[in-house]
């Protein structure tokens, strides 16, 4: 039996359904948006409840003008994270588009690559049009030893899923927030529309990749994977707190502000909400055993 035939029917059914949806709802992003020449600084650029200061004394003490300035840079920073995150996930999916073992997913990967490239384009365009920059990617990769290929694929698609679910939490709320400018709502809601398909696929794939690991690897190896995923989720939430955005908003002591916000217990419920869907998914599947780690 070939690898493709060996895959459970659920993923084929999911793939057929979401590929059909991709084709039926295809849009031309290059014609879809009406980009205003400029956006006024004096407005909310991000839903207040999604700002990294929300619920803390910083949020209470800043003036509305300061908060609106901060919301601009938080918004531009969020799309910058999307640009870098999408670039990284594209590299990994392109590597696997015709890799043995992914015959069933190959057709979907082609749609995924096309759609993600378009998302990267409109997020980058927003940053460059209205922020005049894309915040730089500060991450660094340290290669020590390579994981087994099946563990590596599981981790790659887990990182993609966690990233997409985090982003989607924000997109869904910003897309519906009537206090935001139309173009801000639009980039968020369009992204949410496509990501719901990608997330549905990602969950099926991650479940199946995990089911192949459990009979093969020791409890110790599986624990290493669990620990890595928890640390990855923590780092993903922390990436929303960047001293550069506090500095661009003209606020004093931007590094101290980041440290204070990350340490503030008032932020915990908001951090947990952002990743609740991922944590619930990985806990329910038994991949992680303690959901209270953020």
């Amino acid at each position: 039996m070939s690898v493709a035939q060996d895959r459970p029917k659920t993923i084929s059914d999911t793939l057929t359904r979401i590929i059909d949806m991709s084709v039926d709802t295809y849009y031309n992003p290059y014609k879809m948006f009406e980009w205003p020449e400029t956006l006024p600084d004096e407005q909310w650029w991000m839903t207040q409840e999604l700002m990294s200061t929300y619920g803390t004394r910083y949020h209470e003490e800043l003036t509305e003008q300061q908060l609106q300035a901060l919301s601009k840079w938080e918004s531009v920073h969020f799309y910058s994270l999307n640009v870098h995150g999408i670039r990284e996930l594209l590299i990994e999916v392109v590597k696997r588009v015709h890799m043995p073992g992914f015959e069933v997913e190959s057709e979907f990967f082609h749609h995924f690559i096309g759609e993600e490239n378009e998302h990267m384009w409109f997020f980058a365009k927003f940053c460059l049009n209205y922020g005049k920059k894309i915040y730089p990617d500060r991450k660094m990769s340290f290669q020590i030893e390579e994981n087994e290929a099946d563990i590596e694929s599981f981790l790659v698609f887990s990182r993609i899923l966690i990233f997409e679910e985090l982003v989607d939490y924000v997109n869904l709320r910003m897309g519906r927030d009537e206090s935001l400018h139309k173009i801000i709502r639009q980039v968020n809601s369009i992204h949410h529309q496509d990501e719901s398909r990608h997330i549905a696929f990602g969950r099926e794939l991650v479940k199946q990749l995990w089911d192949r690991l459990t009979p093969k690897y020791s409890a110790e190896t599986l624990k290493h994977i669990e620990d890595y995923l928890k640390r990855y989720m923590t780092a993903s939430v922390q990436s929303l707190y960047n001293p550069a955005i506090y500095k661009d908003a003209g606020l004093p002591d931007p590094y101290k502000m980041r440290t204070d916000l990350l340490a503030d217990p008032a932020r915990r419920p908001y951090n947990n909400k952002i990743l609740k869907r991922s944590i619930d998914f990985y806990t329910k599947k038994g991949i992680i055993h303690d959901g209270d780690f953020l």
Binding site: K139, S141, F142, T234, Q238, S239
Partner: protein, 86 residues
């Protein structure tokens, strides 16, 4: 050249920070030449946090200095290429 660089208060701050962030390395001697990457004291998930900490104590934007993983290989390279660089 190993041995020439003298430990500074800043490098001790970095050492303390690493111990605080990675409790599993507490009790280990993090000397100036310990390979922090091979010994998994520094990895990709802790890197951004470390970078912001180094920017805070140096007061400098380290975007350019932090473009090579080798600059973070030991406390000595962090001292010579990051803290004393630029």
């Amino acid at each position: 050249m190993p041995g020439v660089v003298e430990e500074t208060a800043q490098i001790d701050q970095v050492r303390q920070w690493l111990v605080e962030k990675k409790p599993e390395v507490a009790g280990q001697e993090i000397d100036l030449d310990l390979d922090l990457i091979e010994n998994r004291v520094i990895d990709s998930l802790i890197f951004v946090d470390l970078l912001f900490f180094l920017e805070e104590i140096t007061g400098r934007d380290l975007q350019e200095a932090a473009s090579s993983a080798n600059a973070f290989r030991t406390l000595r390279t962090i001292q010579t290429e990051i803290l004393e660089g630029g």
